[in-house]
Symmetry: C2
Subunit: 295 residues, 2 copies
DNA sequence: ATAAATGATAACTATGAATTATCAAATTGA
DNA sequence: TCAATTTGATAATTCATAGTTATCATTTAT
């Protein structure tokens, strides 16, 4: 009657809570549906609390289930980290740092950081994931990631943010555009152009900053296309579909038929920041952050 | 060959890590010693890491085991809280606040706080534990306690501290002592007395403060006895074994044959503070702290 | 030297996780 | 409207493995 909760129950619970579908969850877990049903029922009995409402056609989480889901995600991720950490200590390695980054940070900042880290702490392992701003923030909140490289101006309470790299912006123009580095006067020259930008959902800060650059030049830009990949933006510019404004660093590493004009005189800068969770228990994180911010 | 870790393993591991003795741990867990041995071996295999060194007469933790112990304590306590929390939410209650306190705070502050809390959040449950300063700090670091009422001036990083109650000190004298409330001049009158104090281990801040009170009067007190219980101290004073200095509030609730002189003119105060962990995930804590500090 | 204590190993037992087969209810669609 | 499909729950059965008992090898204490 009084079951003991095991990690199995938590893993199963999470699968059902995510898919809200017993059969699909069972399939994902490589067990049969009746087995999953009984295990979930056991968990509910152990907690004396209903976690799902089964409505004979759809499954939904109760408020208690909703709460448990968030906590289980946290607990399981934390346990996963602990397992790795224990192994690292057993091997005489210091630990692992899980890093997320925006594509636009791969050009320069990330390689530099990794080299620095390897030099100072040769035994620290790293994992790298290219993720959007919001994906990184979520992963950090759930202890799936230790460190994120993002372009954000605000983060929720409990998360720290520190700028690590400042870049100018550059104009991206088709090769045959009448404006050149030599005859470039200012952004007011592009009042009538169509703009191609990174989408606001991908990076709200970037979007707002570009808007403010045009605003300072006295107009609101017409945005014809939005994309999340630099390469796509370059290709669109190359084909005369508009002009773009990008962080200067981004032009490296691509071989595109466009020309760049660095906007040194405008005040806006593309700021890359690190974010991490203040209550992160990974002992390696502190050293990584210290190292990063000492530059 | 590749075992799945379960909570059972973690509970068993913790029992062995605490007793450093397989047979005793097995007894405590109500299972047989061989069963425990195999489960621990499974855990070690799952982690590919040795956790204990069995030296054919004694068992010790490896560094990796040491690390795991701390993390497992944290995880299991956190899971325990989560279970309660889920049940509370399921019952439409808000949650549970686990409070620790010094005996000397029970007189006034704790009952007041509890009444306030019950009034503002009728659905919050509380558990109360009388613990020493350091026991509270440890319990808070391990997520076994949410809120502690202590007399401390510093706390480790990651723990917050906020004063909530300030009390004057009072002299405790035997009934027949020549000094009375009427002819009391100052602490310099007690230069030659023996002092009975709370032990420094129990409350370092109290000890230092009493020392500084005598220092201000121009002498170093001779300390003849130390205790952790107010009642013991009163009893010793009553029997002429010395005099004492205590937070004034403490005299309430005891019916002792001693007299008290409140030291209103000296600058030192007995400060009671709340402490809590900044990364505590109990959603109730924030409301409790807010309520407390708003007074 | 003998007795007591310790953790590991081997063989066995029995608990309960997981499977298969099936049901009842709800939905879909010809 | 009625068969076909989809859903989670239930019942009976199987089987993996946690836990047991019995025993050993080694160390420590008397």
């Amino acid at each position: 009657m009084n079951y003991q909760i095991e990690l199995r129950h938590l893993h199963y619970f999470l699968a059902v809570a995510e898919s809200l579908h017993f059969r699909k969850a069972a399939e994902r877990l490589f067990i049969s549906q009746p087995g999953l049903s009984t295990q979930i029922k056991q968990l509910e009995q152990a907690l004396h609390t209903q976690l799902f409402v089964r409505d004979k056609r759809k499954v939904v989480l109760t408020p208690a289930g909703e709460y448990l889901k968030a906590e289980v995600e946290y607990l399981l991720n934390h346990l996963e980290l602990t397992k790795k950490q224990v192994q690292h200590i057993g091997n005489g390695e210091l630990g692992e740092l899980r890093i997320g980054f925006l594509g636009s940070a791969m050009q320069q900042v990330i390689p530099d950081l990794l080299l620095l880290l390897k030099k100072r702490f040769p035994k620290i392992n790293t994992t790298l994931d290219e993720l959007s701003n919001t994906a990184q923030l979520n992963a950090i909140l759930k202890d799936k990631l230790d460190l994120g490289f993002v372009r954000l101006s605000r983060v929720p309470k409990g998360v720290a943010l520190a700028p690590v790299f400042e870049d100018t912006f550059s104009l991206v123009l088709p090769k045959n555009h009448s404006v050149t580095v030599e005859n470039f006067k200012g952004m007011q020259q592009f009042k009538e152009e169509e703009f191609i930008l990174f989408s606001a959902a991908y990076s709200p800060l970037y979007y707002d900053t570009v808007m403010s650059i045009c605003e300072d030049a006295g107009y609101v830009p017409r945005v014809s296309h939005k994309s999340v990949h630099a390469q796509t933006i370059f290709k669109l510019v190359e084909n005369g579909l508009g002009i773009a404004i990008i962080p200067t660093q981004l032009q490296n590493g691509f071989d595109m038929a466009v020309k760049f004009i660095e906007l040194r005189k405008i005040k806006q800068r593309a700021v890359l920041s690190v974010i991490w969770k203040l209550d992160n228990r990974n002992p390696v994180l502190k050293q990584g952050v210290d190292l990063l911010l000492r530059n």
